[in-house]
């Protein structure tokens, strides 16, 4: 089941990302000569804050699933077997790679949420 869930999540999340991009684009289309004040007001509105928060969380999860796929394709004993000294440590390398992106993701989400809501 998990395979179908991930697959579906990737498709639906990319649709949401598209909706958000359209939302931002509409702001530009509907306002000419945007001043710093308009821009701040727009990003301080409740809807934009909520949408931006969801946007970044989805970007991070979507990105992580993609990176996990890349990792399980290219960082395996088989793929790294070409450089035979890496083959034995391939699984550990992949775990480090994943842990790095999980930590980076957590750091990014905390800083972004803080930026948006402070």
């Amino acid at each position: 089941m998990i395979g179908s869930r991930l697959w579906l999540f990737q498709r639906i999340s990319s649709l949401f990302l598209l909706v958000y991009i359209i939302y931002i684009a509409l702001f530009f289309v509907n306002n000419n000569n945007i001043s710093y004040f308009d821009w701040t007001l727009f990003f301080l509105s409740f809807e934009t804050r909520v949408l931006t928060s969801i946007f970044f969380i989805i970007v991070l999860v979507h990105g992580f699933i993609g990176l996990w796929t890349v990792g399980t394709d290219y960082l395996t004993p088989r793929t790294l077997g070409l450089y035979s000294s890496f083959a034995n440590i391939a699984d550990s390398l992949r775990k480090i790679y994943q842990a790095f992106f999980v930590l980076l993701g957590l750091f990014c989400s905390i800083s972004i949420i803080y930026l948006i809501w402070s």
Partner: protein, 243 residues
């Protein structure tokens, strides 16, 4: 007389530390021949050359190989269709361990085939003569049952190269769909469950190499699309019945 140059992948693990390419020069045949005929001519010159072949008419699937960079069956590939500047390069199917020259170890490929249970499963009592199927239901199998397991598709698929133990690969997925689509098979739900992890089917990224090489003109990618459809519909049903 015009010459053609054949570059052949050679490897004999008993003698060679590494594989290497060996170049042969031959008189250009007067009429068009198949790549397998060319190999047979070479083998008369150098009988240490190893490759598999049996039916020599595209039925048994044993002489899949990489011909000038593209997988195909040597016995039904005319030399004229692949030769470039009187040169041709023959290598084993990519991604599988080489046993010797063009002979590869297909264990991983067959293991995936075994995994999808390539046989009809129906535990209702067998009728006196045969299990009948309507012509419409029978038509659903067209394009999915004709595979000869030559492995040209799976060994041209990057996803299969990277995870041959986890990704079922186009050849076996085509077979999986052949049984999923069969009205007489009653294990559809179990078959789908076995394929629903993130690797078995979902590692297909629609690269379409499989479609471009299949010597039988089959479309494994279409079968994969149908399986994904079935998996998602099944998921939807579960969500609906859950609440």
């Amino acid at each position: 007389m015009q010459k053609i140059e054949v570059n052949l992948y050679r490897y004999n693990p008993e003698k060679d530390r590494f594989p290497y390419m060996m170049s042969y020069s031959l008189d250009k045949p007067k009429k068009d021949i198949m790549v397998l005929d060319l190999l047979n001519m070479l083998k008369e010159e150098d009988e240490s050359i190893s490759y598999r072949r049996s039916c020599r008419e595209g039925v048994c699937g044993s002489d899949g190989m990489n011909i000038n960079g593209k997988n195909g069956l040597a016995c039904i590939t005319p030399l004229s269709s692949v030769i470039k500047k009187n040169k041709i390069e023959l290598r084993p199917l990519p991604g599988l361990p080489v046993i010797r020259d063009l002979v590869v170890d297909m264990t991983e490929f067959y293991a995936q085939y075994e995994k999808i249970k390539p046989f009809l499963q129906n535990d209702t009592e067998a009728p006196l003569q045969e299990r009948l199927q309507s012509p419409e239901d029978r038509n659903k199998l067209d394009g999915f049952y004709e595979c000869i397991l030559c492995a040209c598709c799976s060994t041209s698929c990057p996803s299969f190269w990277w995870n041959p133990d986890k990704f079922v690969g186009p050849a076996a997925l085509l077979q999986a769909y052949r049984f999923l689509a069969d009205s007489r098979d009653l294990k559809t739900a179990e078959r789908l469950d076995d394929l629903s992890d993130p690797f078995s089917v979902y590692r297909c990224h629609g690269i379409m190499n499989c479609v471009s090489v299949c010597p039988k003109g089959l479309n494994p990618n279409e079968a994969i699309g149908e399986i994904k459809d079935m998996l998602l519909k099944k998921k939807k049903n579960i969500i609906v019945s859950d609440g």
